[in-house]
Subunit: 221 residues, 2 copies
């Protein structure tokens, strides 16, 4: 239920969960849009139960809201919400990365290098899996923190953030920045076990995309 890449799912609930989640994150479903059970049921060719269960799960990911007894809707967006996500993300990932580096092992280091390579390769090839691999790289950096709950928090915030990026329709502009250099810098500092440098670069990496996106959603005070 955590890895978006492992797609040999079997249960209808999982299929519905990932499908709806993807639709919301990529903007295929508009923020605030009413999510009718029957509509999704037909669209995904499944029963009502898996849909309801999937929506319940997405509720806890802050991607879906449940209203009284009137069903579900895609979570709305706002500038303050975006700022909150950005700020939380910086704080939590900074913490997680420091813990990760403090507990660094050879295995972790190799996993990070590997994740980076795969992401970079997909980037150069224009592979559509880049988004998934990008997330996996960032998560690999934090994995050694040894705090599953913290990791899940970061994962959720990552998805919320990427949703705003999709909604701004800026996947291209975003990539055209020199994110590759930024990723390389983070990787280098992490491998060198330089927690301060790595964390600083990571946070700066986020704030840069953040300030870019902030224009689209209004900057609250």
């Amino acid at each position: 239920m955590t890895e978006p890449t492992e797609r040999p799912e079997t249960s209808a609930t999982q299929r519905a969960y990932f499908a709806i989640r993807n639709m919301i994150v990529t903007g295929n479903l508009d923020p605030g849009e009413k999510l009718k059970i029957d509509g999704l049921r037909q669209r995904l060719e499944t029963g009502a139960s898996p849909i309801r269960e999937a929506l319940s799960l997405l509720t806890s990911d802050y991607l879906v809201e449940r209203i009284d007894q009137r069903g579900f809707r895609a979570a709305p967006i706002s500038g303050t919400n975006f700022q909150e996500i950005l700020a939380l993300r910086c704080t939590l990932e900074d913490m997680a990365l420091r813990q990760s580096i403090a507990a660094a092992t050879t295995e972790w280091e190799e996993a990070v290098v590997l994740a980076h390579h795969r992401m970079q390769r997909a980037y150069e090839n224009g592979d559509s899996r880049f988004e998934d691999l990008h997330k996996q790289f960032h998560m690999a950096l934090l994995a050694q923190a040894g705090s599953p709950i913290l990791l899940k928090f970061c994962s959720q915030l990552y998805d919320l953030n990427i949703r705003y990026r999709y909604l701004a329709g800026s996947s291209q502009d975003y990539k055209s920045r020199d994110v590759s250099d930024e990723h390389a810098g983070i990787l280098k500092a992490a491998v060198a076990r330089d927690a301060d440098l790595a964390a600083a670069q990571l946070v700066s990496h986020y704030r840069r995309t953040g300030s870019y996106l902030a224009g689209f959603f209004g900057e609250p005070r």
Copy 2:
């Protein structure tokens, strides 16, 4: 779905959610125990759908685990898990409390004082609502941080922590400590807008109960 106190629920899903959640938190359902749909269905006198939906929601609260195609079970416990919760709680609540005090208003201050009074009153009367009011006091402290997601994280961690307290069967021992003084100290510092002092007392408050409980679950390195 957030406030445990507002009990005029209508939907079967909500009833099931709070009922099962309460059973897990208070130890009425053992950690790791298999949660059979049919058993719960009879126990709560409802259909299978609300049960499944409630369990799905609890999954995201880390109180229930879903396994492959083999149903659900109550989340297991461990010393490392407890330590993780404690550490995360200290970090996140420290942050939230500082933000809350930084954005303090008269309304917030009054709400905090009120929440403390209610909790204290219930404590002196041996009122069973103490646990709920205790949580409400702590959440009131953080409410002004203006970060709903952070608040929810703290709320989840609070529930996970209180579960360990119940499992240690130490509700009494816990209360017999001078928690009243600790709460009063936090309240005083918060009202005085002394973020450093308030945060320090809050964290120390948690660590004290934490080190007490650590003995029950083993201290991982």
